[in-house]
């Protein structure tokens, strides 16, 4: 195996990983605030179509990414109002958001089918990414760097800032956070909006970078993987990064195994691998108790102040 080969494989893995990493990171913050939003897939699709649409009209991919973030966040607000204002069931509301996002993106996308945009690839000068090793560092879409950068930023925010502390307090014990005088609902609105924006950006990675086009249901279930990642990571940002790459590598492995003609196992075995392995890894991590210990205590429960 040559160096070129390994680097090219890594670049494929980066492509498979970035969207789920972004969406997963957003969901992690949402869950840290005590809210479970199962609408990630729907928000990603809304992000994918808004990012693509804005880029078609403005010819500016940076605005497209902003549009994707805004689209995802707007979709998440539907969920937020129901869950925070009306105390509706979070699981069902999240599912409804996914169904809604799927339908809405298909409807909005009708007029964009068959159109293309310039892919939002590396913005570094060509000579920087010519050498394969350099390409590993300078050959990606800006969204990839953004995703990687957001990992330590989010970690720092949650651990070391006052706002992060409040957010975690709201997720751990909403009633006492409320009694000290913090706005539980306000914090959760912000967290849900952040989750929606990140899912939106993750979604636009499909429509603006990997395959610069719009197609119905083009995220093909990656939003669910992002949700699994959060549990998998035990609500820790560092582990989320590791988990996302673990999944990306498994998906790439499936394709490499098939293309290399490994015929001693049926092809469906390779296709089922990433999902089966996620379950196995989830069991392994959860059973050690570390994941359970990290789960925000108020996750998925409605906030019911007595006054």
């Amino acid at each position: 195996m040559s160096l070129d080969f390994i680097i090219a494989a890594i670049i494929t893995v980066v492509g498979l990983t970035t969207p789920i990493l972004l969406a997963g990171l957003g969901e992690l913050v949402v869950e840290k605030s005590g809210v479970l939003n199962l609408g990630v897939e729907g928000m990603m699709l809304v992000g994918a179509i808004s990012g693509f649409g804005v880029t078609v009209f403005t010819f500016n991919p940076w605005l497209g990414v902003l549009g994707a973030a805004a689209g995802g966040a707007a979709a998440s607000m539907l969920f937020a109002v129901l869950v925070l204002q009306l105390n509706s069931n979070q699981v069902a509301t999240g599912l409804a958001l996914t169904i809604f996002g799927t339908g809405l993106s298909s409807l909005l996308g009708l007029s964009f089918t068959g159109r293309i945009i310039v892919p939002f690839l590396s913005v570094f000068p060509d000579w920087l990414a010519k050498d394969p090793v350099w390409r590993l560092f300078f050959g990606h879409s800006p969204i990839v760097y953004f995703a990687i950068l957001m990992i330590p930023l989010t970690s720092w925010f949650l651990k070391s800032t006052r706002a992060g502390l409040i957010l975690r307090a709201v997720g751990e014990n909403d009633l006492s956070a409320h009694s000290i005088g913090y706005s539980v609902v306000g914090v959760r609105y912000a967290a849900i909006a952040f989750g929606g924006a990140m899912a939106g950006i993750g979604g636009c990675y499909f429509s603006m970078v990997i395959t610069p086009m719009w197609a119905e249901k083009m995220t093909a279930g990656r939003g669910w993987i992002a949700l699994a990642l959060v549990v998998f990571a035990g609500w820790r940002t560092g582990r989320l990064l590791a988990g996302a790459y673990f999944f990306g590598i498994l998906m790439a492995l499936e394709l490499y195994a098939k293309a290399s003609g490994f015929s001693f196992l049926p092809s469906q075995f390779w296709a089922a691998m990433p999902y089966a392995m996620t379950v196995v890894a989830l069991s392994f991590i959860s059973s050690r108790g570390t994941a359970g210990a990290n789960a925000p205590a108020c996750l998925g429960k409605p906030f019911l102040p007595s006054s």
């Binding site: 492509g15 892919p119 990997i210 086009m213 093909a220 790439a252 394709l255 293309a259 003609g261 015929s263």
Partner: protein, 359 residues
């Protein structure tokens, strides 16, 4: 917004539903032809091509015929009421355009003996059910010829969906044609277990490229793989339609599914009463398979070879499945000079020598 009182709401509902029920009974001056589509008509692939065929009926026979369609119909039991619905709405001819509607079509056809049905890519017929298909693999032979001629590495990629005869035929046809130009050519095959999954199609294309393929052809429905090839400066082919807008440089040519002439012919047969249940498997000769214009990157030599294949198919003098043909293990499957019959092609489940696959 107009005011809606309870009374007007119900009155309106009653009137509208009465109208809906009455409409099939009203004297129709136009004959209705119905279509059931698998995907959205904007998928730029399979359904898009069928819808283009439908529109050709509108253009050519619009004064006598009205077409209606239903898109996104799942290939399960829910297709039955949809097909039945078209029949009840007064359609006299109904095209069901995906393999998965086979049993459903036959079932509904039993309930409506006066309505004619046409099922695409299946094999079950009845007095009022005809079947039709396209020899996509003839087009694959042209693509294989170009790929074999142009590929520098001699390693070609093939992105498949599922192991069904249509895909197996496509792979074999592509591989055999490439080997005629470059006897050492091999084809790496990846089945992604889906007809449509753009991120996976993209990743699979990158994988094939990394394993040495410099030309990748796709048998899945999205233009995603072409866009990856475009980014890498490599080449590929469009599937189902000219996809050059998605990848102006990577796109060498495409197999276009042209259903229009068949749809028009069958509708005419219905109108003049000559419609019969037949099995049609058309290719280049009948104009169902068409190759798009070659791009500038197809060398004159490659274009000449490709034209020869096209001309041969049109004249009936060329068949890629002419022996000797060996299977993956190297065993001789078809003797020198023998030709695989259409009936055997329709059930082919083995790959030829030089195809590297996981199943």
């Amino acid at each position: 917004m107009t005011k809606i009182s309870r009374r007007t709401l119900f009155k309106g509902a009653g009137a509208a539903s009465l109208a809906a029920l009455a409409s099939p009974a009203l004297a129709e001056d136009k004959v209705k032809v119905g279509f059931i589509f698998l995907g959205p008509i904007g998928d730029y692939g399979w359904t898009w091509a069928h819808n283009k065929g439908r529109m050709q009926i509108d253009t050519e026979l619009g004064d006598k015929v009205e077409t209606i369609y239903v898109e996104n119909v799942a290939e399960d039991a829910s297709a039955i009421p949809v097909i039945r619905d078209l029949a009840q709405q007064g359609c006299k001819l109904i095209f069901t355009t995906s393999y998965g509607y086979m049993d459903q079509t036959v079932q509904v056809a039993g309930e409506f003996p006066d309505v004619k049905f046409e099922h695409c890519t299946g094999f079950k017929r009845a007095d009022n059910v005809a079947t039709y298909n396209s020899k996509f693999h003839e087009g694959r032979a042209v693509l294989g010829t170009i790929a074999g001629k142009l590929s520098k590495s001699g390693v070609l990629g093939y992105l498949g969906s599922y192991k069904v005869p249509e895909v197996v035929l496509g792979v074999n046809s592509f591989a055999l044609a490439a080997q005629k130009q470059n006897p050492a050519a091999t084809v790496k095959l990846v089945m992604i277990d889906s007809w449509f999954d753009p991120p996976k199609e993209a990743a699979a294309t990158e994988t094939l490229i990394n394993l040495g393929c410099d030309i990748v052809t796709t048998h899945t429905d999205s233009p995603g793989p072409l866009q990856i090839l475009e980014q890498k400066g490599l080449h590929g082919f469009g599937q189902g339609a000219d996809m050059s807008t998605f990848a102006p440089n990577a796109h060498l040519t495409a197999i276009e599914d042209i259903w229009g002439p068949y749809y028009v012919e069958r509708t005419k047969a219905l109108l003049d009463g000559s419609w019969k249940s037949i099995d049609t498997w058309d290719g280049f000769k009948e104009g169902t398979v068409v190759i798009s214009a070659y791009s500038k990157d197809v060398t004159p030599e490659a274009a000449a070879e490709a034209d020869k294949v096209q001309a041969g198919y049109k004249a009936g003098t060329y068949n890629i499945f002419t022996g000797p043909i060996y299977d993956q293990t190297g065993a001789l499957k078809v003797k020198e000079g023998d030709v695989i019959a259409d009936a055997d092609l329709a059930v082919m489940d083995w790959f030829v020598k030089g195809v590297e696959s996981a199943s």
